[in-house]
Amino acid sequence: MNKLELQKHANEIRKGIIQGVHAAKAGHPGGSLSSAEILTYLYFVEMKNIDPANPDNPDRDGFILSKGHAAPVLYAALAERGFFPKEELLTLRKIGSRLQGHPDMNELPGVDMSTGSLGQGLSTAVGMALAAKMDNKNYRVYSLLGDGEIQEGQIWEACMFAGHRKLDNLVVILDNNGLQIDGNIKDVCSPYPLDEKFLAFNFNVIRVDAHDFDALAAAFKEAEETKGMPTAIIAKSIKGKGVSYMENNAGWHGKAPNDEEFEIAMKDLAEIEASLCQ
């Protein structure tokens, strides 16, 4: 798949995020928009044996959204990849919906692990990677973390274990958008320096621009080629990316756009689409 196609998919995913959150009148657009390219690359290029017709294939690569509040990006990516009709994105957070406020593996095919309570998803990803090693299977496991989420101690328990066990089939992607609900991560409780922390836990560390598909491609390739240690991809991103008034604004961490804001957001994304089609 070429870069332009990926960019179009990412933009469609962003539309799905905005539509879902707007319809729900609640949800987390900021950290969903920041990771649209990452999920696009994972679901359209990187992950193997991803098949909407066979979502439980035991040999599939796994994706665990440890920052579970970014459920809108996971749902929009799954819909874009054909797991369910895009119209269902409008049921987000509503009673009876399979699209729970945080991802539920027992509700929605394609969700590999229920997440939402920060810090817990990575441990489950480590368990899956360990299972692959124990069974001599080739599937790989990817987990997306928030940069605020890594304030949770359990993340480092999981990293210590993954490094100790040399789980080179595990890729941690850190959505480094620099903001959490209460403000800038540097002001709230700084997790910096990031590279050194993962290096100290025996990870291979790669830095990328989270919105650059060429950089993501190179990083995931390097991760696959790295043996004997897990990889952490520190992806510098823009929270709210693609929607003018949401970019780099912590206020849009967990707030839905009103009707007027929704129109502006969809117009912003339509302009991006138009620029991609030129």
Binding site: P58, D104, M105, N106, D112, M113, S114, G116, S117, G119, Q120, G121, L122, S123, T124, A125, V126, G127, M128, A129, L130, A131, A132, M134, D135, G153, Q154, E157, A158, M160, F161, H164
Partner: protein, 319 residues
């Protein structure tokens, strides 16, 4: 009909030992059984399994929350993990991981905790978990089992393996008498066991208090009080039918547990009674206090949880 019970056996086994041995037996038959521990393999007795199947024993280090998450991930890939630590850390420290990563997901993880209750002994209050049954009972999808001796503990491990879904298993540190008959004993999740039939009052007991209650019942018999003793090994789902039927028969009841009287067996039995058979029920257990250091036997006596303490409290209750 009551089951065959031997109160005069010389054989004493800690249920943590039964757990370690049962893991080997069940694990030999089933390759997908894996065991996780958090640097307590010697104490939880998972080291017995580790010796037999080192490649299937995963020591996570002192990180119980992460261990529960790893167990969930392994279960999602078809393994049947038994995740072990002391009750304090498995259900207290890692409560939310058990709730969100294991129970909400309905993953096939068995949380098997040892060193429950005050019979931990010398380690004292920080390690004497008297809240685990309460904590685990409140979590949806969780089955809660507290076996009373070696025979039952081994059977419970087998049953937990065969059950598809999250299970909490409670084991103890103290060696306790083996009272069940290994030849005839049958374990069924959710079924209470009549250990002694009686008509004057019902003693509902769980864990090591089953033996103590049976001994107390013998003393009561000498006073002409005919006590029924029911072993509630599964606190959730509790055997509502049996509890209600016995309450209807005796019209008077006591619960005995080495656990807080808040949220454990007393609460579970009272919930059934309030719904189906309102009865005055005496709670014998740890009365909303922390434990402290001392030999296990002495602590059980001090807290009134040995047969003599149970006998005295029941006599007072019946006055």
């Amino acid at each position: 009909m009551s089951v065959k019970v031997n109160l005069n056996s010389d054989k004493k086994v800690a249920t943590r030992e039964s757990y370690g041995n049962a893991l080997v037996e069940v694990g030999r038959e089933h390759e997908n059984l894996v065991v996780l521990d958090a640097d307590l393999a010697g104490a939880t007795k998972t080291e017995i399994f580790k010796k037999a199947f080192p490649e299937r024993h995963i020591d996570c280090g002192i990180a119980e929350g992460n261990m529960m998450g790893i167990a969930a991930g392994l279960a999602s890939c078809g393994k049947v993990p038994f995740a072990s630590s002391f009750a304090m850390f498995a259900t207290g420290r890692a409560f939310e991981q058990v709730r969100n990563s294991i129970a909400h997901t309905k993953l096939n993880v068995k949380v098997a905790a040892t060193h429950a209750g005050i019979s931990v002994g010398e380690d004292g209050a920080t390690h004497q978990c008297c809240e685990d049954l309460s904590l685990m009972r409140t979590i949806p999808n969780m089955v809660v089992i507290n076996p009373c001796d070696d025979v039952e503990a081994k059977a419970a491990v087998q049953a937990a393996y065969e059950y598809d879904g999250p299970v909490y298993l409670r084991f103890g540190r103290l060696a306790i008498p083996v009272i069940n008959d290994p030849e005839t004993y049958k374990f069924e999740i959710g079924k209470g066991v009549v250990m002694r039939e009686g008509k004057d009052l019902t003693i509902f007991a769980t864990g090591l208090e089953v033996y103590e209650s049976l001994v107390a019942a013998e003393k009561l018999a000498e006073d002409g009080i005919d006590a029924e003793v029911i072993n509630i090994h599964t606190l959730k789902p509790i055997d509502e039918e049996l509890v209600a039927a016995s309450l209807a028969k005796t019209g008077c009841a006591v619960t005995v547990e080495e656990h807080s009287i808040i949220g454990g067996l007393y609460s579970a039995v009272c919930e059934v009674a309030a719904k189906k058979q309102p009865t005055k029920i005496l709670a014998i257990g740890v009365e909303d206090v922390f434990g402290h250091s001392g030999p296990a036997k002495d602590l059980l006596k001090e807290f009134g949880l040995d047969s003599e303490g149970i006998y005295n409290k029941i006599k007072e209750f019946l006055k």
